[in-house]
Symmetry: C2
Amino acid sequence: MKQKAIVLYSGGRDSSLVAHLLDHFGYEVKLVTSNSGIVQGAPKDAQKAAKIIGFPHEVVKIPKQIIERAAEIAQEDGFPLHAVNYAHKQVLEVVTQKFSKKYTTIADGTRRDDRTPRLTYPEMQSFEARHNVAYFAPLLGFGHKTINHLSKRIFTYKEIWAGTKPTAEYETEIRAVLRKKKKGLDKKIFPKKHFHSVITGWAASGNL
Amino acid sequence: MKQKAIVLYSGGRDSSLVAHLLDHFGYEVKLVTSNSGIVQGAPKDAQKAAKIIGFPHEVVKIPKQIIERAAEIAQEDGFPLHAVNYAHKQVLEVVTQKFSKKYTTIADGTRRDDRTPRLTYPEMQSFEARHNVAYFAPLLGFGHKTINHLSKRIFTYKEIWAGTKPTAEYETEIRAVLRKKKKGLDKKIFPKKHFHSVITGWAASGNL
C-alpha cells in the first residue's frame, strides 16, 4: 500500500531532498508551501522548483496572525530563532489539519545542524498522537557534510541572499511585517549574511 | 565520486535499513559488527543478515574492558541505558579510528524513538571534528511508524526475545558479564520483554 505524504516545501535544497527521499521510499508525495498573503509572490520560486523536481504542489493559505505573532516574537527577542520556530509549528498544525484525513505522513526539512525550526521530541509525540499521523523529519540525522554531498549529487541550485528577494521561507513574510513596524527593523533582527537555496535543476548524476 | 561509509551493524531492522538507505544514496557501504570475545558467537546472525542484504561485512574486535565497564555502569545504575550508551560511544571511537583513513562517513542505526544509544549534538560535532568524518544517523528523524512501514516494505525479519539467544547487540555481552558477577543479575537490569530483530530476507516488494 502506497503511503501518502505531505512535504512542507520551500523550494530549497533541504525540502527538495526530503521530497526526493520520500519518493524513493515509496511514498506518494505532495508538496505544500504556506503563504499568509502578506508577501503574495513569496511561493513563486517554490512553485517553479516543485515543477522541476516533479511533484504536485499546493500553496496553502495560512492566517496572517501566525506571521504577525512571529514578527512580535522576533521583535521581543531581537533574534529570529523562536519566531521562525513558532511559525513552523503553527504552519504544521494548519497544514496537518487540512490534509490528515487523506495523508498519513507529514514531513519537513528540519536538519541536524539547524538550530531552527525544530520540534522537540515531546512535541513530535504530541503532534503524532493528536493528528494520528507520522511526523517525519528525514534529515534530522543528516549533518551538513552529508546534506552538501547529497544535494550536490542530486540537484543544481542557486543561492539567494536572504532579504534581497522573496522566497518561500517564513523569513520573507516575517521580515515584511517587521519592516512595516519600522524601516530597517528586519535587518537588525535577521543575521546579515545567509543564503536560501532554490532548486534550478537536476545534477548531471541526475538522481540518487 | 563515490563516498565510502561504515555502518555499525547488528543484523537487525534498523541498521539494515541504514545500510540499504546509504546504498541508495550512492555510498559504498561496509558493515561492521563489534565483538569483545566475551560472547564469541554473538555476531553470527549479523553475519548471515549481512550476506542476505548483500554488503561486505567485518567483525571488529573491541577491548573487553569496554563491555566490562559498561556492565559496571549497568550494575551501578540498576538499568541499562547509560551502559549501552557508553558501549556505543566507545565502539564508535574504536571502529572510526580503524577505518577513518579510508572511509569518510560513519553511520549507525540510532532512531528518533530510541532512548539509547544516542550521541548528543555536541558529541556528534566533536566526533566529526576529531576524526574528520561525517557522522550519519539517517534514522534520527524516523519515528516508529515510519520505521515499521519501511522495514516491512523492504525486509522480512524474525524477532528474538532479548536474553534468550546471543545477538550482535551490546546487550548480549553486557548480560554475560553481569551473569558472571551474579546469577540472574542481567535479568534484574535489562527490561523483561523486548525483542531484537534479525533480518531473514527481502520482502515481496523487495526493495525501496
